[in-house]
């Protein structure tokens, strides 16, 4: 069963709600190795997205994703604004004008989003950024999307968590955390954490679709 615009909007809504719940936790992570605003930033952006979501539903999942991306770029700021904004923008572009998406098309769009994030932020693996959760999650989807959709989504969320945790002991080399050098080791990356929440939300919202 293909994924519709309302399905995707529901996943984004769930992501926004989870971000609101995790706002303070994300901010605390950012206080330790950044400037203490990641939860605030993401929540501000998704409050704006959720407020406008009903008006984003007219033109298919691609238009939805693009509008989410633009809204994030216009409201989040900081590093995460352009990065998540680009992620959703590129997803939207990849989706084109399709009215519904097969899972494999969604996965391809996620890959395009990831490429956009990498292009914009120039993070390489193990720089300890959101990319370290995003890439394994999407790779997991890519290998499992042919099988059970629910399991594919579960493995993506799991891979995001593992990626997030795998880089916790590392020295950050991008973003503000990089200023800390050795002192960044042992701290969980806020952006990798919010990305993990994204893939958990995709699982929880979309696993029941097909």
């Amino acid at each position: 069963m293909p994924i519709t615009t309302p399905d995707l909007a529901g996943a984004f809504r769930l992501f926004g709600e989870r971000l609101a719940e995790e706002r303070d936790a994300l901010t605390r992570l950012d206080q330790a190795i950044g400037d203490g605003d990641h939860g605030i930033n993401m929540d501000r952006g998704f409050q704006a997205v959720l407020g406008s979501l009903p008006t984003f539903l007219d033109d298919g999942p691609g238009a939805l994703c693009k509008q989410v991306g633009m809204r994030l770029i216009s409201t989040v700021g900081g590093a995460s604004g352009p990065l998540y904004g680009t992620f959703f923008l590129r997803m939207g572009t990849a989706m084109g004008t399709a009215e519904k998406l097969e899972p494999v098309e969604l996965v391809a769009a996620l890959r395009a989003g990831l490429e956009g994030v990498i292009q914009r932020g120039k993070a390489v693996p193990d720089d300890k950024t959101m990319v370290d959760a995003m890439r394994p999650a999407i790779e997991a989807l890519e290998v499992s999307v042919g099988g059970d959709w629910q399991e594919a989504l579960a493995s993506a969320a799991c891979a995001a968590r593992q990626g997030r945790d795998r880089v916790t002991p590392l020295v950050a080399r991008k973003g503000r955390a990089s200023y800390l050098g050795e002192r960044s080791t042992g701290h969980q990356d806020p952006g990798a954490t919010s990305t993990t929440i994204l893939f958990e939300s995709l699982h929880d919202a979309l696993a029941t679709i097909s």
């Binding site: 203490g36 770029i73 900081g78 604004g81 973003g175 503000r176 200023y179």
Partner: protein
């Protein structure tokens, strides 16, 4: 959290409203949260804009006016502004001679300014940009986010703003800004943390006998945490790594900028300045110009930073040129 604020989410908007109420002769406010020089744009002149997260006041909005910035974009507290703001600022100050973006080197600032520049250029405005990265506390490396932009930004905005005011073209203004960047070095420290209003709790905790050396301006932890020391020792810890850079040599003329982080009173800054002056004097470096005060802050953080800028005649002349902004004013 003890602050003179109303709702944490409204701090930036309300402070901007206060600024415009107080300085309506110099500034106007444009959507979204952009302070624009009242009489901008100036036909035929390069526009100079900057911007960044809020919480560093008077930077940048306090530097909008004659002979300094044409516009400043105010992000959320410690969060880079969004591209819509830099785009609006760029358009508001575009007098047909191009616009310079002065960007502090933070991942977020870089990316948001980049997006805005792409959009502005697509709309036909010529944009040049210079990234300020003067904080010696951070290792300079191609493989990381690199050095932060801190105190040197204030000096760059003053000097470059004066050049634009006098009619220098975009290439000249950009080259001058780059020269200020290349000749400026800074180092900061904190006695206390600060609290992002929307977070409500201090970004880090320092015990009564500790301080952070090599702090940034966003409450991000510093290079190392050490035992509290005297003002003279602290001045040494800040100036030594700056001098190790090899930029400043015996016989040089410098501008020395002793900055307060927001919660440190002026009396203490002068105690620090006294020692900075003594250290440089002993090295045969002449302080030809100075600036002492809280100009690039980190909310209510207590602490100080030292910036040295190696001056040449052109920079000195532009530093001395008339400036009339809420926070810096002379010659007019």
């Amino acid at each position: 959290m003890k602050k003179l604020i109303n709702l944490p989410d409204r701090v930036v908007e309300e402070a901007l409203a206060g600024m415009v109420a107080a300085h309506g002769d110099l500034l106007r406010l444009e959507e979204p949260n952009v302070l624009v020089r009242r009489d901008a744009p100036h036909q035929g002149r390069v526009g100079v804009i900057s911007g960044g997260g809020s919480g560093h006041e008077p930077m940048h909005g306090g530097f909008v006016g004659r002979g300094m910035l044409d516009a400043a974009c105010a992000g959320a507290v410690f969060t880079s502004p969004v591209p819509d703001q830099m785009l609006a600022a760029t358009k508001a100050v575009d007098g047909g001679a191009g616009v310079l973006h002065i960007i502090k080197n933070y991942t977020g600032d870089i990316m948001n300014f980049e997006l805005a520049a792409e959009l502005a250029q697509a709309e036909g405005t010529e944009v040049a940009s210079v990234v300020i990265a003067d904080d010696v506390a951070v290792q300079d490396s191609l493989y990381t986010a690199g050095r932060r932009g801190v105190g040197g930004t204030v000096l760059a905005e003053k000097i470059v703003g004066a050049a634009a005011e006098e009619g220098a073209d975009l290439q000249a203004v950009k080259a001058l800004c780059q020269r200020v960047q290349d000749n400026a070095r800074s180092m900061g420290m904190a006695l206390t943390s600060c609290t992002v209003p929307a977070a409500g709790t201090p970004t880090f905790e320092l015990s009564d006998d500790e301080m952070e050396i090599g702090i940034g301006i966003h409450g991000e932890p510093g290079r190392r945490r050490v035992k509290l020391a005297s003002a003279d020792e602290i001045a040494d810890m800040l100036v030594a790594p700056i001098l190790e850079e090899g930029v400043f040599a015996r016989g040089d003329s410098v501008l020395a900028f002793v900055n307060g982080m927001g919660g440190t009173p002026l009396i203490e800054l002068y105690v620090v300045y006294r020692k900075v002056d003594e250290i440089l004097r002993a090295r045969g470096i002449e302080i030809a110009r100075n600036l002492v005060g809280s100009y690039i802050t980190s909310l209510e953080m207590a602490g100080t930073s030292v910036t040295l800028l190696k001056l040449d005649d052109e920079m000195t002349r532009y530093w001395d040129a008339p400036v009339h902004t809420p926070a810096l004013r002379w010659g007019v």
